[in-house]
């Protein structure tokens, strides 16, 4: 396995002066390609902040962040946006689907926004992903008509649309019942195995973490494990 993500001396501080709050304090982390890792830690430990920085949605205060050999700290906003679209997928705790779109339209969004239109190839890939998620009979359903578990599976399919090397999942099962959570995790594990996609899953759930090959714990703004 080769290093997909390398983070060194990562510092993130919010606020300034009296309100200055350090969240990440010189964090170091390397994610190998194809890893299925769990990110554990108490609330407020900086798990979400780390995922946000790894997902190029937020810039660190200082430190180095590289992925696929690219320096993402020095990259421009538009370069980071294009990189994010091509190489990183997101699954949020609350599905965060586009409410006025169907399941398929949500799934193919990352590909369509990249191509500037909905291509036939993207539609075929989207339908395949939804079928693999067990949603073949919900492809053209507006997302408002889907259950919580179904929405989260649509979100997983969307995260995989552009065949990203890294999928960042922030409490992906935190809002689901036990059966739905198990179903989503099984799908993630299967995709990790079949396609070699790297997953970093933030969770409080020890059972979910146990399904992952590697457990990383964020303590005092640093990663252990």
């Amino acid at each position: 396995m080769s290093a997909l993500v390398v983070v060194q001396d990562l510092v993130k501080t919010f606020g300034a002066g009296l309100t200055e709050t350090p969240v990440l304090r010189g964090l170091n982390l390397t994610l190998q390609a194809g890893e299925l890792s769990a990110l554990l830690g108490p609330s407020g430990s900086g798990k979400s902040t780390l995922l946000t920085i790894l997902g190029t949605l937020m810039q660190p205060t200082s430190g180095a962040h590289q992925m696929l050999g690219q320096d993402l700290v020095r990259a421009t906003d538009s370069a980071r946006t294009a990189f994010r679209n091509q190489h990183i997928g997101f699954v949020f705790q609350f599905h965060n689907l586009l409410p006025d779109f169907t399941a398929l339209e949500n799934v193919i969004f990352p590909a369509a926004v990249r191509a500037g239109r909905e291509t036939g190839v993207a539609r075929a890939r989207g339908m395949d992903l939804l079928t693999r998620m067990g949603l073949q009979d919900r492809i053209h359903f507006p997302t408002a008509h889907l259950s919580g578990g179904q929405k989260q599976r649509v979100a997983v399919a969307r995260a995989l649309m552009n065949r990203p090397e890294l999928v960042l999942a922030d409490e992906p099962t935190g809002n689901l019942d036990r059966a739905s959570a198990s179903q989503v995790m099984q799908l993630i594990a299967q995709i990790n195995k079949d396609e070699g996609t790297t997953f970093l899953i933030s969770t409080h759930d020890e059972k979910i973490a146990a399904l992952c090959a590697r457990q990383l714990v964020v303590v005092d703004g640093q990663v252990e494990g």
């Binding site: 294009a82 679209n85 500037g116």
Partner: protein
Amino acid sequence: MLYALKIAGRYLTASKAQTGLLVMGVAVGVFIFIFMSALIGGLAELILSRTVGDIAHVSIQAEPEDPALLLTGTPLLVQQKSTTAAANLPTATNFVPLIESLPGVRAVSPQISGSGFITHGAQVAQVSINGLMPGRESAITNLDSYVVDGTARLGAGSILIGKRLAEDLNLLLGQSVRLSSTKGIETALTVTGIYQIGAGGLDRRTAYISLGTARTLFAMPQGLTRVEIKLNDLYAADAIAPQITDLTGLTAKSWTVDGAQFLEALSAQAKTGVLLKSFALITIVIGVASALLLSTYRRRPEIGIMRAMGASQRFVVLVFVLQGALIGLMGGLLGAAMGYAALLPFPAGGQFRTGSLPIDIRQGSYGLAIALTLLGAILASIWPARAAAKVDPVEAIGQ
């Protein structure tokens, strides 16, 4: 672009009632714009047709000659300059076909004019006499449209008089009058037409006779006293008058020389129109901008999701600008259709009915209204779109 258009369209169709209200708001603004255009344009046309429409746009008239010296040497005694007998343009008749052939010239009216007295029984009235060429009676002033009794056609022995004059002299159609010129020549004529322009002075003081009768009356076997020219575009008078002067060697004068105040009034009216239409446009722009700003605020989480999924700031801007453009286009088309429908009952072609609004359906500026609305809506959407593009995805998703 295509995908941004799809998303913009989806956002609009997702909240149909809100979009419908917004489009209707824009349409009302466009409707006002079109209605004002038709009203102001129609009003200008009415004023023009009632004033400049019935006068010569270019005229050739010889200045009365300088008074003759009655004593040579030190000029202590001179003849008073004539104010009643017009000077002769001996060569003007020859130039009529040439002037007629000029581009932009609609009609030419050769005339012999002067003053005289009209007598009916014991009643006498002073009149201004206009000798017009038969067949061209309505070339300048549309006498045909003002005739209330008889005909505007002039022939040998016929006279056309105003209604006020007919009333003053107790004249009826077909009755005979005697017309004498300042040259002391008198002739008997039959009233073949009575007109009513509506201007008291004209209706009481102007009589029209044929050019041939006028030649006899003013003892002018050749030449003319005046040539009146009507143009297709009255605003071309300043350009065409010098051309006529160059071609004929006669002094041709544009109507604008004596109509500066009228032009100023027309210009002020046009400016008022532009101002009113601008207000309508500003209303549209503010409406679209505020609605889109609200929309971007409401859709902040979705914008955050799109940005997280790799949508560029430019893409987000495009989505909201296209949304504004679609609103502008739909509102513009609907407003133009509403405006056209509302203007349909009004007569086309500037045929205004007395007492009704002087609205000209042709002057609705439909294309301009749609284009300006589209442009205004696009401009109005830029600010909200830029605000949307600057949404922090982390913050927005966390909402």
